[in-house]
């Protein structure tokens, strides 16, 4: 919302200067976004008097003038046709920046066709103070020499632009702004009433209300014989100052009342109306050619203005082309109605029309301003365009006023810590327009009809606090919370932190990528569900909630490769979405590697499925999850390589993680070059260890604990998983066997086709006595039996 300082002063008696007004706006909650003071750019210019104007000796169109200026008499060569002796004009000294031409005068006098010129006289257009460019500004002769140009041109008037918060539609009128600033201490509020126009005849246009819930009141008046010419200069200047181009008297007046009083009006060319003007709900199949030149389909949930010809306007949103006023209009019908905010907002959203009327009605217009608004418009039109007005006709009644609000004075201190005297509060509320009734300790307040944001005591507390000033609030640190310290993070958050730090310390870079991905990509990862498709995506490639983080990371890795990176290790700890319910979101840690073969003078192993497994296991170990408690199985999701990837299970139902190589077909669809190794770990699927009753650890038993190690090699069919050998070997004596590790896998000479040899090292951990040879042999033979039973494996001879 833009307004000029002079306009504000119509309603505010104040001695405050611009800076003080800005300070008070900030204090009262009117957030200033921009201030433009035309006086600033005109600071160099001043009023001058042309003493003589002689023809230039060498140029027909130029004149050589002697000009009395603030800097003394100057010789100025001027090309304006209207330059003449005795005129009062605007002088630009040497070096001045001319805003309308966007250049600066030379600092030294310049010769024009051989005659020196010591400055310039400007047109209003060159000063950006008007449109006139036919000649230099020709001012009233009583303006004194040296007067600031801004003052002489009447543009010494700062324009302030501020943000109107949705709760305060009354700030969409200059009068409403003045009221708040008066309450904030800027001066006196000038609550001048509109001078009513007493019409000389009854309004000949009938008004019908067929949707009283949406449009309960409609005031109208008819003006006969108006001349719709240009509006007066002062009105044009005010509109122009706030960025609205003047059009014609009727249009300008409706705009003016809207800006001045937050009261939208509509002017119809009465000669184009057919029969009664009716506010009703729309009908299927109706259309409106609106003032913006577009045709809109009408639906039954829109409130329309109609006459016998059909729809002629969208109530509270925009008028129609068929009944619009024009320069030829002589008979006018003025509409000043009230439209329901929700209906207006919905119509606005459906049609996409953005108008000043919609903006005001959907936020709330003072229902009591209908009649006042008509009178104000009539006065302005008749005073400036002539014509005769009818009496004002009012159909319906203003909607019922809001109930009174009980205000507990102690709430101010209770909620804000401020100490404000009741007399001060009373004055603030009175200025804001509240009526106060004392009922004991409480005040019963009548809320002004232009306020829609006040329902309860806390709302009044806000009024008091902001007008008192937030700078007066005490500054009090939070007292310590009773009941001692609590753990700041949840167990899941703790997991996230541990996993992130583990991966970063293993050389991975942390990524944060969109929660969205392109729907076709989501489908590659088992997603794409319609319930997770964003209906209004910001871009088509961000239209699906991700079922996996892998796609985003793989694309990022490829981008990095294209930029010359050779070893990209990325991870992200973030959400994936299985459904749209509150429990359908999972916290995943996903890591992805796109590596080149290592180039090292020592040689080196390329990154592969086992490398990513090591990274996954490192994370699991850091999370206190011994990796060997999980079972390795074939991947359960189609985006993994069927042979070079696996899942990690906890029992038959719970899948905790996948790791290994991504499926080449998926990579092709993503336009990513493989191989890509990755893991995705579902932190929600990991069990939590039971909290122990005490922090004390069990005593370490060090009595003869020297471990015994033995090697065994088994020959098995090559389809047998090494993990099954390890598992069955370990099962042979869970108490004594502390570790089984595979140290060799061999196929070739000495081993039958379709078979392989797997060598394991068995570690026995005695807990007390030293093991005897017979005991060790017994365990070994149990292992051989157990492995044989589980895998068909035999000891390699």
């Amino acid at each position: 919302m833009k307004f000029s300082l002079s306009w504000l002063k119509d309603y505010l008696a104040t001695s405050a200067d611009l800076d003080e007004i800005l300070e008070l706006m900030l204090k009262a909650g009117l957030e200033v976004e921009h201030v433009e003071n035309p006086a600033e750019k005109l600071a160099a210019f001043s009023v001058c008097k042309v003493k003589t104007a002689e023809p230039h000796p060498d140029a027909d169109k130029l004149r050589v003038c002697t000009v009395g200026t603030i800097d003394g008499d100057k010789q100025i060569v001027c090309g304006a046709p209207n330059a003449r002796a005795g005129m009062t004009a605007i002088y630009a000294p040497l070096g001045a920046y001319i805003p309308g031409l966007d250049f600066s005068l030379d600092k030294k006098p310049r010769k024009i066709r051989g005659v020196e010129s010591q400055g310039m006289m400007c047109s209003t257009k060159e000063l950006e103070a008007g449109e006139d460019h036919d000649g230099i500004a020709d001012l009233e002769d009583d303006l004194p020499l040296g007067m600031a140009a801004a003052e002489a041109l009447g543009v010494d008037d700062p324009v302030i632009d501020f943000e109107v918060t949705p709760n305060r539609p009354d700030w969409l009128g200059v009068k409403g702004i003045a009221r708040d600033l008066a309450a904030a201490g800027a001066g006196g509020f000038l609550d001048e009433e509109v001078r009513k126009v007493s019409g000389s005849f009854d309004c000949p246009v009938g008004i019908g209300l067929k949707a009283p819930d949406v449009c309960p009141i409609f005031a109208g008046a008819y003006i006969r014989g108006v001349e719709n010419g240009a509006s007066p200069d002062w009105l044009q200047a005010r509109l122009r100052a706030v960025g609205i181009a003047p059009k014609s008297l009727l249009v300008d007046v409706t705009n003016y009342v809207s800006l001045d009083r937050a009261r939208p009006l509509h002017a119809y060319d009465a000669d184009k109306l057919q029969g009664q003007v009716v506010a009703r709900m729309g009908r299927e199949g109706e259309t409106l050619l609106a003032l913006d030149g577009k045709t809109y389909d009408i639906t039954p949930d829109m409130c329309v203005i109609a006459d016998d010809s059909g729809v002629i306007g969208l109530g509270g949103v925009m008028g129609g082309e068929s009944t619009a006023v024009s320069d030829e209009t002589t008979n006018v019908f003025i509409e000043s109605a009230w439209f329901d905010p929700l209906t207006t907002a919905r119509t606005g959203r459906t049609t996409g029309i953005i108008s000043d009327a919609r903006y005001r009605f959907e936020r709330g217009v003072d229902p009591k301003s209908c009649v006042r608004g008509v009178h104000m418009a009539l006065r302005l039109i008749i005073d400036n365009g002539g014509g005769k007005s009818s009496k004002v006709k009012v159909a319906g009644e203003a909607p019922v006023a809001k109930p009174k609000v009980e205000f507990y004075k102690q709430d101010v201190a209770r909620l804000t810590g401020l100490d404000v005297k009741p007399a001060t509060m009373r004055k603030m509320l009175k200025t804001l327009g509240f009526d106060i009734e004392d009922i004991g300790e409480t005040w019963l307040l009548t809320v002004p009809s232009w306020r829609f944001d006040v329902d309860q005591s806390a709302d009044i507390v806000e009024e008091i606090a902001r007008l008192e000033g937030y700078d007066k609030l005490p500054t009090t640190s939070l007292p310590p919370l009773e009941g001692g310290r609590r753990v700041v993070t949840t167990r899941l958050q703790h997991r996230v932190r541990t996993a992130r730090r583990t991966l970063a310390s293993r050389g991975f870079l942390e990524a944060v990528t969109w929660s969205f991905m392109p729907k076709p990509h989501a489908e590659l990862f088992g997603g794409g569900d319609e319930a997770l498709t964003v209906a209004n995506p910001v871009a088509s490639e961000l239209n699906q909630m991700r079922p996996s983080i892998l796609g985003n990371l793989a694309s990022a890795a490829q981008n990095a490769f294209n930029m010359g990176e050779r070893d990209v290790r990325l991870f992200e700890a973030g959400p994936v979405y299985l459904g749209d319910g509150p429990k359908d979101q999972r916290s995943f840690v996903t890591a992805l590697v796109k590596a080149s073969d290592p180039r090292s003078w020592k040689g080196g192993e390329p990154y592969d499925s086992f490398a990513i497994k090591a990274d996954l296991f490192a994370v699991l170990s850091a999370l206190g999850q011994a990796p060997d408690r999980f079972q390795v199985d074939a991947p359960r999701l189609d985006h993994w390589h069927p042979g070079k990837a696996a899942c990690l299970k906890l029992g038959p139902k719970v899948t905790v993680a996948h790791f290994g190589a991504l499926h080449p077909r998926v990579l092709k669809a993503l336009d990513v070059e493989g191989p890509i190794y990755a893991f995705e770990l579902n932190l929600n699927a990991l069990p939590y260890m039971k909290a122990r009753a005490t922090k004390t650890k069990a005593v370490l038993n060090k009595a003869d604990r020297t471990p015994v190690r033995r090697d065994l090699a088994f020959v098995v069919a090559d389809t047998v998983a090494a993990g099954d050998i390890v598992k069955s070997a370990k099962g042979a004596d869970k108490g004594l066997i502390s570790e089984i590790s595979v140290f060799d896998v061999y196929q070739g000479k000495g081993i039958a086709d379709g078979h392989k040899s797997i060598a394991i090292e068995v570690t026995l951990q005695p807990s007390g006595e030293t093991l005897k040879d017979e005991e060790i042999d017994a365990v070994m033979s149990r292992i051989v039996k157990s492995v044989g039973k589980a895998t068909g494996g035999e000891l390699r001879s």
Binding site: L26, A28, G29, E31, P166, N167, P341, L342, A345, R363, L415, T416, A458, E462, A465, R466, Y470, L473, T476, S477, L478, L481, E482, V488, T489, R501, A504, S505, G507, L509, E510, A511, V512, W514, S515, F516, E530, A531, T533, V534, A535, V538, A539, M545, A556, N559, A560, V568, L570, E572, G574, Y577, D580, G581, P582, D584, Q585, S600, K602, G604
Partner: protein, 357 residues
């Protein structure tokens, strides 16, 4: 006697002359072995008279000890020489590089989340979380956004397709729904912060469709707006690691707070850095207010008994202000060069005791 002297001088000569360990051992056996010369002399002691034995015993023992000592000394010298020779052959070119190890880093947004949690944790807050996909009630209605109210439109909400005529689900536009969920599940006193991803349909130089917020909520019996001010000034000082900061609170409008305030801090620019707590310009850094009584009622909390404040701030921007990232877009691009440059070392864990950064 001459025997002893002769034997000793011969033995010492042989020991000195042994140029490797096996030759030295042969000498040792020849002199001190069971059948060695010195051992042979020692055996003669048995046949001597007590007087002779008293005279010869110490002499022979001394001989044996001196020969043994000479053997040991020679052995040490030979071993030393052997080690020197071995070491001389063992040379590595240690200017060669070690195995290359990739260097990881943490994302600034995630790091700043932890910084913020450390500061508020110190003030008694705990961290709460909730889902990104929300229903209309948790994201708007419960937070006192009237249905159809223009305040909703300012949020540029992402919607999902409505399922079976229900109100469409939304991507949360703020983490305030977590406040609602917390108040519905937990009895006051409440002190929580709610960090997380939030979404708005806006994409330009200063907006991304996904960004990060931390909101806070305090609900107790005697918490007023002065506490809000104190708590947030304490936070800003701690976060920017400055001793003092000049802050300004301005009235604003949020549907879910009453009274509402925005907080500005003074700053100045120095090259690419922004110095908070100095200078003459104001910068808005967060929104806040006393929790609206309607919101408390919506969550089953009696506003006549409990009251408190809430606040919210953008983490991406907060990270920018402190660490100087010039642009928001690369935050979400997983660009290794950017992450290495603006990221944090894995062992850097923000804490009140150990420092934030």
């Amino acid at each position: 006697m001459s025997d002893i002297q002769t034997i000793e001088s011969e033995a010492v000569a042989a020991i000195e002359g042994a140029d490797d360990l096996s030759k030295l051992d042969a000498v040792r056996v020849a002199e001190l072995g069971k059948k060695g010369r010195v051992s042979g002399l020692m055996k003669t002691l048995g046949k001597m008279s007590p007087e002779e034995r008293q005279d010869m015993g110490p002499k022979l023992n001394a001989l044996k000890n001196r020969v043994a000592a000479a053997v040991e000394a020679r052995k040490a010298a030979l071993e030393d020489a052997a080690l020197e020779a071995q070491l001389a052959s063992e040379t590595l070119d240690l200017s060669l590089p070690p195995k290359k190890e990739p260097v990881g880093a943490l994302h600034p947004v995630m790091q700043v989340f932890e910084e913020v949690a450390a500061i508020f944790g110190d003030m008694g807050f705990t961290v709460a979380e909730g889902p990104d996909i929300e229903d209309d009630w948790h994201n708007f209605t419960a937070l006192n956004f009237p249905e159809g109210h223009p305040a909703r439109e300012t949020h540029d909400t992402f919607f999902f397709h409505p399922q079976q005529g229900d109100t469409p689900k939304v991507l949360r536009t703020h983490t305030s729904p977590v406040q609602i969920r917390t108040m519905m599940e937990q009895k006051p006193p409440i002190r929580i912060i709610a960090p997380g991803r939030v979404y708005r349909n806006d994409w330009d130089a200063t907006h991304t469709p996904m960004f990060h917020q931390v909101e806070g909520l305090v609900i107790e019996k005697n918490i007023h707006m002065g506490h809000l001010k104190g708590c947030l000034i304490d936070f800003v000082k701690a976060y920017f690691e400055v001793n003092d900061v000049e802050a300004r609170f301005r009235p604003h409008f949020f549907p879910f707070t009453e009274p509402s305030a925005e907080m500005d801090v003074k700053y100045r620019k120095q090259g690419d850095s922004i110095l908070i707590g100095e200078g003459d310009s104001w910068m808005e850094i967060l929104g806040s207010g006393m929790v609206h009584p309607n919101v408390l009622r919506n969550c089953g909390i009696d506003p006549d008994e409990y009251q408190g404040f809430a606040f919210g701030m953008g983490i991406d921007r907060l990270a920018m202000l402190k660490y100087g990232m010039p642009d928001l877009r690369p935050y979400f691009e997983a660009d290794p060069a950017w992450t290495r440059h603006y990221g944090f070392a894995p062992w850097l864990t923000p804490s009140i005791g150990g420092g934030l950064s």
